[in-house]
């Protein structure tokens, strides 16, 4: 049975498609497993009942907008994270605001394979997943397990402070009260951190799932795909992977809104968000700037003022 927010999403999608305001609604639909959803591309009003909303709606759907919303009117269902990515895309002139109808939903955190496993759920045993707004109910052969959403969400969701969409044309749900844990900077000396990352990057297979799933990684030609300049070669070793991931983290400085999709998508379980969170902390500290909150704001690293802090201490 559809939950209340799902029902509202469907009604709004139906209205937008029937009125011709948009030709496409991007949302989530049930995935191949109870703990999965998959992006839904709804093009006719009689298909809106496929749309769902639950804590397994992991994908940041803003990733599709630079491709589909440049020349067509589309609607997109947006969690707070997704809405912040859309803000960034509008700021960076990748998506015209007037082409996107944002159907916002409030969010108390997202679950994925890794977070469910961390909550001691055996994924092969899950035959059903329900959500009552506060807890997820997981059907297993041993009966229904009730898990408070706060216990099952991704690590990144535990430090999240934005539980309502920052920009939307219509928004559903009440913003939940969640006590966010503080974001901790990376511990250890320079050498320790260096050793830690050298070890992590050994696993990278350069599949670029992190990049492809990221709404902020929209470059037509990524620096990693340039055989002419070879900023980083296709050689899958720790040093080349280092160059790619550090390059990506730098390019995301002041732009990554912290949805954590890159880390979720990584089949090698690289803790990519540790890097992005660290960069975000520095940007916050140096420029008092949080990305993806204000479409009118200048992108922090695309803008210069004489009194800007120089990280090296001189002007």
């Amino acid at each position: 049975m559809a939950n209340e927010i799902e029902q509202k999403i469907r009604e709004e999608a139906k209205r937008l498609l029937e009125s011709g305001e948009v030709t496409l609604v991007i949302g989530w639909k049930a995935g191949s497993m109870p703990f999965k959803t998959t992006p839904a591309f709804v093009r006719s009003a009689d298909e809106v009942d496929r749309l769902v909303w639950n804590p397994a709606c992991t994908n940041n759907l803003a990733v599709y907008l630079p491709q589909v919303a440049k020349r067509a009117k589309v609607a997109v269902v947006a969690k707070p994270c997704d809405s912040r990515s859309i803000v960034t895309l509008i700021q960076e002139k990748q998506v015209p605001r007037e082409n996107v109808k944002i159907i916002g939903v409030t969010c108390s955190g997202i679950v994925d394979d890794a977070s469910l496993k961390a909550a001691k759920i055996r994924l092969q045993d899950v035959h059903g997943l329900d959500w009552d707004g506060e807890s997820i109910l997981i059907g297993t052969p041993a009966g229904k397990a009730k898990l408070p959403i706060t216990d099952a969400v991704r690590e990144g969701c535990k430090t999240c402070t934005v539980h309502a969409p920052v920009m939307s044309d219509v928004a559903f749900g009440d913003a939940p009260e969640v006590n966010a844990a503080p974001v901790e900077p990376m511990e250890g000396s320079f050498e320790e951190k260096r050793a830690f990352w050298a070890k992590q990057f050994e696993r990278c297979i350069r599949c670029y799932a992190c990049r492809q799933v990221c709404p902020a990684c929209y470059c037509n030609k990524c620096f990693a795909d340039r055989p002419d300049t070879k900023w980083t070669s296709k050689k899958a070793d720790a040093s080349e992977a280092w160059m790619f991931h550090m390059g990506r983290a730098m390019h995301l400085a002041g732009r990554c809104i912290g949805c954590g999709e890159c880390e979720r998508a990584c089949p090698m379980e690289l803790p990519i968000m540790k890097l992005n969170r660290e960069v975000a902390l520095h940007v916050q500290e140096m420029y008092d700037y949080t990305p993806g909150m204000d479409p009118e704001a200048d992108p922090v690293l695309g803008h210069w003022e004489p009194e800007d802090v120089d990280p090296n201490g001189h002007h």
Partner: protein, 340 residues
């Protein structure tokens, strides 16, 4: 060839003793992510169970970075150097049965076709395969829907089953039986035999997918609307094919380090937008629909036509790693239900 059992404590000792005249290739835990295939030195944590994530066997046979040659140039002196390949007999232990099947697919591409790849051959020749029977299939597994495990079991040299504190070893070939001469190998008890039979039967009982037993190569079609459905969602990463045990596409690149040029083979995938784009700019698959179609058609039609076997072993890695949950099982179910 009698079956044997060995305690887990003795297993490591036995592998270390084999290292005197063998390369022993085993899955090694890396703390996070799938276990990696390593030519072990005896000190690593070896994971012969198959329930965790495990890289496909191609990680050893077709390394992500495979040096073809090195060219060193100094004034008046040029040296062309082939990489050193081990000529020792090799034992690969702990691969899944689906991954062993994938080696049959790789063989048909790299050894048995018009070309014989010397780098692949050097690793593949004299390689003994001891496959682990999965005792707790993952949520993504569908091996029994794309093949006959009893047939696949004949392509390995031994089957091993994890019995908790000990490991059951059932040799299939003389080559592997000869390796079991250590006194650490004991006769299995009746209980051991019962347990390993149960594990095998449980694996064969893995629920079948709707497309099981159907001829996918006859159902799959060039203009199926499903390619568009997949292309809508697909983000164009390489997680599916880089993880796939039987995807074989590669790129060849040159890197310069100091005065040395290294030519190497690395992964490539039909899912990347610039895959096989020509130097002059022509791209044979400019649309995403063409790329999502290519991967499925290649595995289930072209490889069937070329090698009389499908290029999918039901390992489920693409199912688990797809960031947008394009589940190959659903794709195949839809393809076959429309046509048959």
């Amino acid at each position: 060839m009698p079956d044997k059992v060995i305690s887990k404590n003795d297993l490591r000792q036995w592998l270390v003793s084999l290292m005197a005249d063998h390369d022993v290739i085993a899955p090694v835990d890396r703390g996070a992510g799938p276990a990696a295939w390593k030519d072990i030195d005896g000190k690593e944590e070896i994971e012969i169970g198959t329930n965790g994530l495990l890289m496909a066997a191609k990680e050893y046979l077709l390394p992500v970075h495979d040096v073809l040659f090195r060219y060193k140039g100094k004034k008046g002196e040029q040296i062309l150097e082939a990489p050193e390949m081990s000529t020792k007999p090799k034992l690969m232990i702990g691969l899944r049965l689906c991954d062993a099947r994938a080696i049959s697919v790789l063989d048909s591409v790299y050894l048995e076709g018009r070309f014989r790849d010397p780098y692949y051959a050097a690793r593949r020749e004299n390689l003994t395969l001891m496959a682990t029977v999965c005792d707790d299939p993952r949520w993504s597994c569908f091996c029994t829907s794309v093949g006959d495990l009893n047939e696949w079991a004949k392509t390995v040299d031994a089957l091993i089953t994890d019995l908790g504190d000990k490991v059951y070893v059932a040799p299939v070939t003389e080559k592997s039986a000869k390796l079991l001469s250590s006194p650490a190998f004991k006769e299995p008890t009746e209980e051991d035999v019962k347990k390993k039979t149960q594990v095998w039967e449980n694996l064969l009982a893995l629920p079948k997918q709707p497309f099981a037993g159907k001829d996918i190569s006859q159902s799959v079609s060039w203009d199926d609307p499903i390619w568009k459905d997949m292309a809508d969602r697909c983000l164009g990463c390489g997680a599916c094919s880089y993880q796939c045990p039987s995807c074989t596409c590669f790129d060849i690149q040159d890197d310069t380090v100091g005065n040395t040029i290294e030519r190497y083979r690395c992964r490539d995938t039909c899912q990347f937008s610039d895959f096989t784009r020509m130097g002059a700019g022509h791209n044979p698959r400019p649309e995403k629909t063409m790329r999502t179609r290519q991967r499925v058609m290649h595995k289930f039609k072209y490889q069937m036509e070329q090698f009389n076997m499908i290029g999918c072993t039901g390992c489920g890695r693409c199912v688990e790693s797809c960031p947008v949950n394009i589940d190959l099982r659903e794709v195949l179910s839809k393809i076959t239900e429309q046509k048959l």
